[in-house]
């Protein structure tokens, strides 16, 4: 890589009191180059634009300045912190003749890896973590859209995943603008662009974000593309005109309940066929809503709030197959078979809450939104977590992650206090009273004896 900024040098920038040390180049593309930098002992990232990119996008500097003033919608965004132009003294050290600028943003921690690693099947990540990442993505877009902003260019390329916890980070926030107000230069990334944007009938905005978000969620959940089925197999050379037909002129969802022209091929598209049945019907329905009716009617697409709600519910329904240990997400109640090994899944204990229910399976969590109808879905501050007994893993308990004591009640009326950090066995209890609200412990009704 030919680095535009000299690695190892300290440069002065207008508006920065201290010099910025260019630690090393991190990467570059057609827009610009990204560097790790140090400012007064703090490590940050600097994106420096290529003159061609600035020339193409007249609103870039104005948009960045507005984003910097508005601050990040939530902490999932590697949001611009400051716009930088080289000071006259440092100008000669920058190795391009044309005038250019860049912006500072938080540095991505090394545990976060590009989402394309997951798409390629190279990332060791669990189903639950993928669902958590999907929730984090939908939640980030929820915060962005609620702030009246739109992202415009969602793709695998600007999403990073932390595989152990399912955390996410979104980079390249330089196209963010007030929805409908600023006609920036970017249109989106083919394959993620809404059909109306690909065909040039609309500018990217919050409605097209909803399409791109659904594509990205689908790709994370299935490792497959929602529009690549039989109709893609019929294309010999997948070039621009072919992509335009497939994703713009005649886009058909591979699981469209009515239009069966683009079904996945059992061999070529096995990923989609294996993973799609894992997900509960209400979650599948949001994809159908976005990719069927919402394909041509942008206002009918599933909203960010619908995604966060349904993804949080899916996580609440997680239970482990006793035979193979794999996570299953189908609703309790009806008889179900493990998607992975086909064993019947036993009916689990359910924790009934003022708002919703959580199945008793290790690592499932209770959050404030389970108790308070006025708070939105949020997975960041759990109040309780289902845990397996350290000696007897089959015995499940509930760990108090809140700062207040609970009261655990048995069927015979006896009760015990459960302090912060302590766990109570679910086997003996019928109810747990917490300051947030009551938790009812519901056991499955044993099957009626055969007559």
């Amino acid at each position: 890589m030919n680095w535009i900024l000299p690695e190892g040098a300290s440069l002065g920038f207008e508006g920065l009191a201290a010099p910025l040390r260019i630690v090393r180049g991190l990467g570059g593309g057609t827009q610009g180059q990204v560097y790790e930098v140090e400012l007064e002992g703090e490590r940050l990232a600097l994106k420096w634009y290529l003159p061609a990119c600035i020339a193409r996008d007249a609103g870039l500097e104005r948009r960045l300045a507005a984003s910097i003033r508005a601050t990040a919608p939530n902490d999932a965004f590697l949001w611009p912190i400051a716009l930088l132009r080289a000071s006259p003294a440092s100008r000669p050290l920058i190795r391009i003749r044309e005038e250019s600028f860049g912006y500072l943003m938080p540095l991505r921690p090394p545990a976060y890896v590009g989402a394309s690693e997951h798409a390629a099947g190279r990332l060791a990540i669990g189903l639950r973590q993928v669902l958590r990442a999907c929730f984090g993505l939908a939640d980030a877009f929820h915060a962005l859209h609620l702030a009246g902003l739109c992202y415009k260019d969602v793709s695998l390329g600007n999403l990073f995943l932390e595989p152990c916890g399912g955390g996410i980070l979104i980079c390249d926030n330089d196209n963010v603008a007030v929805d409908g107000a600023d006609h920036g230069a970017v249109l989106g990334t083919p394959g993620f662009m809404a059909p109306e944007v690909l065909l040039g009938q609309a500018r990217p905005g919050a409605d097209s974000d909803l399409f791109s978000l659904a594509v990205l969620l689908f790709r994370l959940l299935t490792r497959h593309d929602p529009l690549k089925g039989q109709m893609e197999l019929a294309i010999r050379c997948l070039d621009e005109p072919a992509r335009r037909r497939l994703c713009g002129e005649d886009p058909v969802f591979i699981f469209d309940p009515v239009d069966a022209r683009n079904r996945p091929d059992p061999i070529e598209h096995a990923a989609a066929l294996i993973t799609w049945p894992i997900y509960p019907r209400p979650l599948q329905a949001l994809f159908e809503q976005t990719f069927c009716r919402g394909m041509k009617q942008p206002s009918r697409r599933a909203l960010t709030g619908q995604w966060t709600q349904e993804l949080a519910r899916t996580l609440d329904q997680c239970r482990l197959c006793p035979a193979c240990g794999q996570e299953n997400f189908l609703a309790a109640g009806a008889p179900a078979l493990c998607w992975s090994c086909g064993s019947p899944l036993p009916q689990p204990i359910t924790l009934a809450l003022p708002r919703g229910a959580v199945l008793a399976a290790p690592d499932n969590e209770l959050h404030p939104h389970h108790f308070d109808a006025l708070v939105g879905e949020d997975l960041r501050r759990p109040l309780a977590r289902v845990v397996a007994h350290p000696q007897e893993p089959r015995r499940l308990g509930l760990c108090n992650l809140s700062a207040s004591a609970w009261s655990a009640e048995a069927a015979d009326g006896r009760s015990w206090p459960v302090g912060p950090g302590e766990s109570c066995s679910l086997a003996a209890l019928i109810r747990i009273i917490t300051p947030a609200g009551p938790i009812a412990v519901q056991r499955p009704i044993p099957p009626a004896p055969a007559a």
């Binding site: 669990g126 249109l187 497959h224 598209h269």
Partner: protein, 245 residues
């Protein structure tokens, strides 16, 4: 528990170098510069291939001098590629090289389904054989018609007209100038062009990059919109005198 062991379906992307190894390439270290440029470009190319799970990037190379021959005959995944140095010596059988590539782009051996192939022709002189027949053979192959064809002219003696015929004439569209052979006047610019072809162009052909409104949305004459050329980065070695061929 791990995510199901499934992978994104992908398509092959064939990348072919056509390298001039005629005797004139031995002058002024041009052959060494080309070997270095290609070798240096491989890590970046492998990174692009990794970032584009929809594509399986496979590299081949043809050398041409007194005759044309496969330098790398088996389509090789870029992360497994070891670049053996090309040796200069002989005349310029460019037409024969095009014949060789034309045969390789027939189906079979080409897959039925693929991404547009990328062909990169690098030359410093004039063909000494029947270039027109080679080009005609190439033009008849559907995969060659779909291919992204790039040409790099080394030094001042390269036959720009022949290279232009290889990449084809394309009318200027939407403010873009028509495509021309890339002219590498020194080792630095050669390395930049090779890097650009093996990273930015491979990226554009495998998974489309983010689009800006200047890019024509109507299907353009080319079937893959080419990314911007690398910016002219001021080379610190310029101060000590460039290697001018």
């Amino acid at each position: 528990m791990p995510f199901p062991d499934v992978k994104l379906a992908n398509r092959p992307l064939h990348f072919l170098y056509l390298c001039d190894c005629s005797g004139s390439m031995a002058a002024s270290g041009k052959m060494q510069a080309l070997n270095q440029a290609i070798r240096q470009s491989l890590p970046g190319m492998a990174a692009v291939a990794r970032d584009n799970p929809e594509a399986r990037v496979l590299v081949r190379a043809v050398s041409f001098a007194d005759r044309a021959a496969w330098h790398i005959e088996t389509p090789t995944p870029v992360d497994q590629l070891e670049w053996r140095d090309l040796q200069a010596g002989g005349i310029t059988a460019m037409g024969a090289a095009l014949q060789l590539v034309a045969a390789a782009l027939q189906t079979p051996p080409m897959e039925v389904r693929a991404l547009p192939p990328v062909l990169v022709l690098i030359s410093d002189g004039q063909p000494t054989d029947d270039f027109a027949a080679g080009l005609e053979a190439l033009r008849r192959v559907p995969w060659a018609q779909k291919a992204v064809r790039l040409a790099i002219a080394l030094g001042h003696d390269a036959d720009l007209e022949v290279l232009q015929r290889f990449i084809g004439t394309e009318p200027a569209t939407a403010g873009r100038s028509p495509r021309r052979p890339l002219q590498a006047g020194n080792a630095t610019s050669l390395a930049q062009y090779i890097q650009w072809a093996s990273t930015a162009v491979v990226g554009a052909a495998s998974m489309p990059a983010s689009r800006v409104s200047e890019t024509p949305l109507e299907p353009a004459a080319g079937n893959i919109p080419l990314p911007d050329l690398p910016p002219t980065v001021l080379d610190p070695t310029d101060d000590v005198g460039p290697v001018v061929w």
